[in-house]
Amino acid sequence: MKNSINLGRHAIRQSTFFSKYDKNVPAELFGIRNETPDLTDFPYPLPCKKSEYTLCAEGDGVVWYGSKKGLTKYDRKAEYDFDRIMYYSADRDLPDNNVTAVLPEGRNAWVLTDSGVTFIEEKLLSPTEICRALLDETLRYVDRHGMISQKRLRQPRVLESAYSHGHSDNDGGFTACFDIGEIFRYATLKREKGEDHPETAQAKKVATRALEACLLLMHIHGRGDGFVARTYLTSDEPVPDDGLFFRRQGDYAVCLETTYSKQIGCAGVRIPCTAPIPERLRHLFTDEGYTENDITYKADTSSDEITIQMLNLLCAHYLLTADDPELDSIVRESCKGIMNHIIDNKFVLADYSGQSTTWAKWTEDYFKSEMGYVDGALNSAELLFYLKATMAITGEEGKWKETYDYLVNERGYADMAQQHYDRLMQASILSGMDLPEDIMFGDHMLACSSFAGLCLLEEEEPTLTKYRNGFKAWRTTLDREHNPAYDFMYLLACPSETVDTERIREWFYRSNISRIASGVSLIGRHDIPVKTYMDGYRQTSTLLPPDERFISKYDRDPLEYKNEDSGGLLYVENCYVYTYAYWIGRYFGFIEGE
């Protein structure tokens, strides 16, 4: 198959930290006299200056070079270019960067630094095994009432120190991303191993719980109008001063006092919340001993949330809920609810006052505004995608098709959907900024979701061509992320296109098997050029493999020149970044089966 790739088992790197006095640490490490390296005419770029390397040690086919700025591994016979030189740095791979001794052990090594000892090893794992490890970590440490976003830690790198609470602005969207990955895992395993296989059953269970969590956000507010909450907190979770929160109290929900709610004058506002939550979803909090009155939900939901949620509903309907009529019915009704809400509110998501939320607007007026002009190309595609998805999920046309046709044929939404790059450039020229400074990297996932959905669901050629053009308008900025998930979605939408499969291989083979945030020492690397833009924003000139760059979700610029993972040093992120890409690739055959 064109654009397909075979991913077998591959050595994945892992660091285990020890104290200097740990009995597992070999005593030879402290007595070893490493040689001083001669790096004259060394043929590859090195992460540190040659003069900074103070010691070297040769293992089985690999040479370790130590410096005050971290550790470098040179694999003389690496099969792939991307495996030849590897950099290990604090805080992810080493407790600190001052390497004082290295004791090779086969292809692995014990490394002594100022503050401890690290055992660096290669683990031969297949991508499926990596998915399994990542999923296990996520389910154990990240899940919060079924929502899968990230968790804050009390102590760096100590998963057991995870707080039980802690929300994200985009809990719904991130959980939906996670769920999509798990739905495709379930569908793939079902096809390959059968419905009754324990792994298949486990996948279904995981996907179903995440789907329920997503659906719950469409009902948790009790508004009964198709609104979607960003997230919710239970009564024992602190409410941060960050956005718009409503606490349910009987038949009303009261807007809590936050800086933002005071700023917009809605603190204390009460809105009805009498619509019942489907029993099938309630259990997510009632099982934990909470009732509706323990719920505080977050409003002011953005279009980002709606887009990923819609894609999730579409995937769930086709691949997960076919033999679960109760859940499928909730999927359909929830989808209709959202769509009705958007249509009834003249293409906005309406918040407590009936006015639109800050970032969920799909109106022509918004697209004409200074703020919404650039968003127009994406948001027009989003709205068309919602309508197409709703038709597919409900099996109904009626109002959905009527609205879709109106937007496409009379309001030019499909044409506008092609103009992303044009509008982005226009804004960039006007602002005098360089292009990357004007890019919202989180939009990439939204564009991929909307355009992949539209291209798969639209059958009429002229309109389909517009959507394909619309997707292609994102390629200039998407291309440099080399995110396999984006590549696969692009190929689904535009099958005649090609992507760089070797970069996909690098991405899967050079990912970590944990999503614990800890940061890397990127700043100051000698082998990575830095690009500084007009307003001081900095990028790397090359995309580093995932295991040597900061950890984030799909919402950050992976070229950003920074050390810190997006949540700082005290986080564990969820696994969807890997599992979403992998299982979509597997399901559609872009990644060959193991």
Binding site: F42, T476, V530
Partner: protein, 817 residues
């Protein structure tokens, strides 16, 4: 509300054309004085003018006026545009030249006015290559104004305002002037105003009206300004004194629905790709000579621990930049202008030669060539460096390219043995020299030289040892020559090539006889060939006078073919080197046929031919429709999985009707014949007389851009330099590379010192095959080793500090943004 018509007061200035540069300079001074006066007289009037060169002239000759202009620029009333030295031809300069146009000009603007130009502006240039969006944005410009070709010449290009994209994703907002760049007088302004008002309403965005006396300068007249003011005062509120910068800001602030274009902007003056071979050859030579000299200077200075020269290179480059002015490089100025150009480019070439020699001597002086006992020599035969019978003489061969090359190298003495620095025998031959004294023999040997590095070879004048030469694969006889890669057969009757066949798989690359030179009627077109896009009226073919095998040695075969036509002749040495898969052709033409062109055709077999051409910094595929096309060092026609590339050291013009690619060798028009009726005179012709150049023939499989076409073209244009060495104890080995790039489609374009005097080094790289790639670059001489991602045909500029830390910048070297 009506859409705005932005009135752009300007003075189009051709600093050389139907006059020499001194007159052009005077015209600039006069125009600038006049514009400053108008600005003093009319508070709302705005003046726009391009080209840093003009400002520099004024600064040097009339500092008072320059001071006044500086103040007006700061007030926003005098608007410099186009961050380039002049308005160059936009087809023939190489990418590095465009980089220098931007670098020196934008730094000048920044230094004098505190800001750089954001708008590119080449309103008179005769066509614009497809890489321009990238070349402009890398030089700090994201908007562009052009005019040629107009909508009649190419109706497919979007009208007026459009997004223009190049292959790497770079984009500029482009305004194609629909009227003229120099409307003046009430009637002309009215006509333009009416047309533009209509278009503005139809298009839904503002338009620009360019007014002011132009070509020989002048600028907006009092009459024009007052007439425009009267229009505004009488209620034409859509009219506004403005500048291109203001216009682009204005249109970007409003919703904009305009087309995009991802191709080149051609054709306007197709005859200009070939007219006046002299200037083309000088331009190519000067570009390459300076690029190479800078590379070696950086390396030599790093070895010596001293800073490399910058100012002298800048001066030399500015002469190149100036002579890329469209009316100069396009060969359409008066004959006398080419005397000036020759002198100016002669300066650039001299600087390059001096600096390259200085650098290579410095590097060579560090190479260890010592042989024990050599200092004991006493007799002539042991002291004479070239005729030393006892010790071999060492020759260092320097390769400026960033890829290793295998090629033949000539030294000016015969030898009886050649060995490499490891003592291995090397294939060589003694061949007839160009001189007519001594032995009449030179040595040609097969050299392998690492990327941007050197190899030392030892040539023995006389040797007592038995010689064991490595095997040669060369064979030649009557009308054929071959090696292990290809066999070439000539026709004695026509002097053409009957067959080029692969020895590996038997593939025939030609469809019938090729390389029979065709003489084309050029009597109708003017020098520019206005409104003529195909040159296809064949007057006849040159007649073969002789075909002879003049060399059949171990290292190469040479077949000399002489053609004649009228009072002219063409002599070509077809050279096939051992182990080579291409043919070099050394050409000597004496041309005395007025109003003709000479084309060299090659026809390939296969269906659905595609023609591909090198353009500045990249390549482009074009339809095989017979239109005359501009190209840099190579052009190719391929079909059914194979093709033939022609590459040259000095030509820029080709056409490709169907399966036939034709190299335009010369075009003998009257100098500066501009739509004229040619009143009787003793005309001077722009390609009359003797010229020498080289081209190459490369049969290949696959696509041109992924083949070795680019490499061979680069090798022809940047030949290794052989430098005899003395006997010294040195620290450098007998073979060394100063750069390593792990991907064949990444090429080092330029290696120079940063213009801010920091001592930092600039390394510019480009992707050559249209395939995105991640590359590893190691350049120990400046302590650097780094990775970089490249998009399709992307040019990236890296700045390396003294510690080897690297930042990615652009043509402006991170000095200004």
């Amino acid at each position: 509300m009506k859409q705005k018509i932005h009135l752009i007061g300007n003075a189009h200035l051709d600093p050389t054309w139907l006059w020499r540069w001194q007159e052009g300079c005077g015209e600039v001074l006069q125009t600038f004085r006049s514009a400053a006066e108008r600005l003093r007289e009319y508070d709302d009037f705005v003046f726009t003018c391009s080209s840093a060169c003009y400002y520099k002239w004024v600064e040097e000759i009339d500092p008072g006026l320059f001071e006044e202009i500086t103040q007006l620029v700061k007030e926003g009333r005098w608007v410099p545009v186009n961050g380039w030295w002049i308005q160059p031809d936009c087809n023939m300069p190489c990418a590095e030249s465009f980089a220098r146009q931007a670098l020196y000009s934008q730094l000048y603007y920044y230094e004098k006015f505190g800001k750089i130009c954001r708008t590119g502006y080449n309103v008179d240039s005769f066509g614009h290559n497809a890489m321009m969006p990238q070349l402009l944005t890398r030089g700090g410009m994201r908007c562009y104004v052009m005019m040629r070709p107009n909508c009649r010449e190419n109706p497919d290009i979007p009208e007026d305002l459009f997004w223009w994209d190049s292959a790497d994703g770079s984009r500029v907002l482009t305004y194609r002037i629909p009227t003229g760049y120099a409307e003046n007088g009430k009637n002309a302004i009215d006509r333009a105003r009416e047309l533009l008002s209509r278009k503005a309403e139809e298009n839904g965005h503002g338009m620009m009206l360019f007014y002011g006396v132009g070509n020989h300068g002048g600028g907006p007249t009092k009459g024009d300004i007052e007439y425009i003011k009267s229009l505004i005062e009488s209620g034409c509120e859509e009219l506004e004194f403005s500048s291109p910068d203001e216009y682009f800001k204005n249109v970007c602030a409003l919703p904009l629905d305009i087309p995009s274009w991802a191709d080149e902007l051609q054709h306007h003056a197709s005859g200009c790709y070939s007219a006046t071979s002299l200037i083309k050859q000088l331009n190519r030579k000067a570009e390459n000579a300076l690029i190479n000299a800078e590379k070696w200077s950086v390396i030599a200075s790093a070895l010596k621990g001293k800073d490399a020269p910058r100012e002298v290179f800048k001066d030399a480059w500015l002469k190149v930049c100036y002579n890329q002015f469209h009316d100069i490089l396009c060969g359409c100025s008066i004959r006398e202008a080419y005397e000036d150009a020759s002198e100016q480019l002669g300066y650039s070439l001299t600087v390059a030669a001096d600096k390259e020699n200085e650098a290579l001597q410095a590097i060579a002086s560090k190479i260890d060539t010592w042989i024990d006992g050599v200092s004991d020599s006493i007799g002539f035969s042991e002291r004479h460096h070239c005729e030393n019978h006892r010790f071999p003489r060492a020759v260092a061969v320097f390769n400026p390219l960033s890829r290793p090359v295998k090629t033949t190298v000539r030294t000016y003495h015969p030898s009886c043995e050649v060995t490499d620095s490891d003592g291995n025998q090397v294939l060589f031959s003694n061949v007839r020299s160009s001189r007519s004294n001594d032995s009449h023999l030179d040595t040609v040997f097969e050299a392998e030289i690492p990327a941007m590095g050197y190899s030392v070879y030892h040539l023995r004048f006389k040797d007592d040892n038995e010689i064991t030469m490595p095997g040669s694969d060369i064979n030649a006889g009557d009308f054929f020559m071959e090696n292990s890669a290809i066999r070439v057969e000539f026709s004695p009757a026509t002097g053409g090539i009957k067959s080029v066949k692969s020895k590996r798989d038997g593939r025939e690359y030609l469809a019938g006889e090729s390389f029979i030179p065709e003489v084309i009627d050029n009597s109708e077109p003017d020098t520019w060939a206005h409104n003529i896009f195909r040159f296809d009226r064949v007057l006849g073919k040159m007649k073969a006078a002789s075909v002879e095998t003049v060399e059949n040695s171990g290292v190469r075969a040479v077949i000399r073919v002489r053609h004649e036509y009228g009072n002219s002749y063409l002599s070509q040495d077809y050279i096939l080197d051992a182990h080579s898969d291409y043919i070099r052709v050394k050409v000597r033409i004496l041309w005395q046929e007025p109003l003709t062109m000479l084309k060299m055709p090659v026809t390939i077999p296969g269906d659905n031919p595609v023609s591909t051409y090198e353009i500045p910094g990249g390549f482009i595929t074009r339809p095989c429709n017979g239109e005359e096309e501009p190209a840099l060092t190579w052009a190719d026609v391929s079909a059914s999985g194979a093709g033939v590339t022609l590459f040259t050291d000095s030509k820029y013009s080709f056409d490709c009707p169907g399966n036939t690619l034709r190299l335009t060798m010369l075009r003998n028009s009257i100098f500066a014949d501009h739509y004229s009726d040619r009143p009787a005179a003793d005309f001077a012709y722009c390609d009359e007389g003797l010229q020498r150049f080289e081209y190459g023939i490369y049969p290949h499989t696959g696509e041109a851009q992924t083949s070795d076409a680019g490499l061979y073209a680069s090798m022809l244009n940047n030949k290794p330099v052989a430098m005899p060495l003395g006997y010294r104890k040195g620290t450098l080995p007998g073979r060394k590379s100063f750069i390593s790039i792990d991907k064949p489609n990444i090429e080092a374009v330029s290696f120079k010192k940063c213009e801010d005097g920091s001592g930092d080094t600039i390394l510019r790289l480009r992707e050559t095959s249209g395939i995105p790639v991640k590359a590893a670059i190691v350049c120990d001489i400046v302590n650097a080793g780094f990775y970089a991602d490249f998009n399709r045909q992307e040019i990236k500029t890296f700045r390396i500090d003294s510690e080897g830390y690297v930042s990615e910048t652009d043509f402006l070297e991170g000095i200004v943004r």
